[in-house]
């Protein structure tokens, strides 16, 4: 009998089940988006080769359980006809998750779907010392929980107030969740405490006269993990305004992990062992040509 290379199967998105000879197949989903046509094909495959159901994973993935070993090639072929590829398991960059972002959600600040697709093309399934999760969320509501990821990205806005049109209605002060905005109606002045501002952009979105303007940007979080050990990702860089800078930072992060990470060591533990200061320096080096963006 031909020997089964389970590691290769796992790498290709097939995970061994408790039931001997059966595999749960993980699909490649980007930013939680599937077309109706793809869903139709998944439905057909789950009926034909599985047991008529799918499992939705905690990270926007789709898995089809009860695929027989001998059907794997046929399943891959059928799914590929609808543009569906197997997903990645094991020590590599996993599903890029994303909320609906600014193209759909009224709260969204950045186009998360576009960024998720870019990240998928550039980084998906890259070999690393351990699993590596990238999650993208469009705003401070944090539906995608940026800090849970090895690398989380959050849409953000740096607000600036312009006096000219302001009616001092008070809405910005009312909606600011950190009470960073103070209105002095008597002297017709508004101040913002930059230390308290979380760049959520509510003042900009709410302002009736567009007196609050803001430049959309990205807050990045590093080293989050939510498995046997739990740690929140840390924001160690200021807001970034250029998407290319974001990619430079992601690339530098993955290179740092490849360079310093031990096999089987989660990224957070690598940073803790090597040092946050060294990691931060490597990231700053990656974007040093555009330091202007780093100055707040």
């Amino acid at each position: 009998m031909k020997e089964v290379n389970y590691n290769e199967l796992k790498k290709g998105g097939f995970m061994r089940q408790v039931q001997k000879g059966y595999f749960s197949m993980r699909l490649r989903v980007v930013g939680g988006r599937l077309s109706a046509e793809q869903l139709k094909k998944i439905y057909e495959v789950a009926n034909k080769y599985g047991r008529g159901y799918i499992h939705l994973t905690a990270r926007q993935g789709v898995e089809i359980p009860f695929i027989k070993l001998e059907d794997i090639e046929a399943v891959k072929k059928e799914l590929s006809e609808a543009g569906i590829e197997p997903g990645a398991c094991g020590p590599r960059v996993r599903t890029i998750t994303a909320c609906q972002g600014s193209s759909i959600c009224p709260n969204g600040i950045i186009d998360t779907t576009e960024l998720a697709n870019e990240c998928d093309k550039r980084y998906y399934a890259q070999e690393l010392p351990h699993k590596f999760k990238i999650g993208i969320t469009g705003c401070g509501n944090n539906c995608l929980k940026a800090e849970e990821n090895d690398l989380g990205i959050k849409g953000a806005v740096k607000p600036e107030w312009e006096k000219s049109n302001c009616t001092f209605c008070g809405l910005c002060q009312a909606v600011c969740p950190t009470k960073a905005i103070q209105i002095d109606e008597k002297n017709k002045e508004i101040t913002i405490d930059r230390d308290k501002c979380t760049y959520c952009g509510r003042c900009v979105k709410s302002c009736p006269t567009n007196s609050w303007k803001g430049k959309p940007g990205y807050l990045l979080y590093f080293g989050g993990m939510f498995g046997n050990n739990i740690a929140l990702g840390k924001q160690i860089l200021p807001i970034l305004f250029s998407k290319e800078d974001v990619h430079k930072v992601i690339q530098a992060t993955l290179e740092f992990y490849k360079k310093y990470g031990k096999q089987g060591e989660r990224f957070r533990n690598t940073i803790e062992r090597v040092g946050w200061d060294i990691f931060k320096k490597e990231l700053e080096k990656a974007i040093e040509n555009e330091r202007g963006d780093l100055d707040e």
Partner: protein, 82 residues
């Protein structure tokens, strides 16, 4: 307190999203363009979303008053073709 005189008063403190916005929008549909509505709403989610949604519908937020009891009073002028 405010020196703005409202034509209509609405209390949505007993509603949750999305009914807060739905009720405000429905009430404003019966108003004349240029009339002012005074809406009392809860802090947190309603104050963050209802005025913004009304702004997107073309209405004008005139004044927001913190009642310091967990509610806000928002004065909105109905927008549209005069």
């Amino acid at each position: 307190m405010s020196d703005i005189k409202a034509d209509v008063f609405l209390d949505i403190t007993n509603l949750v999203c999305p009914m807060t916005f739905v009720k405000a929008k429905a009430t404003m549909e019966d108003m004349e363009v240029g009339q002012i509505i005074e809406i009392r709403m809860n802090e947190s989610e309603p104050i963050q979303n209802v005025p913004r949604s009304l702004k997107e519908e073309g209405h004008e937020i005139l004044k927001v008053i913190n009642n310091n009891d967990g509610t806000y009073t928002v004065f909105v002028k109905k927008g549209g073709q005069e």
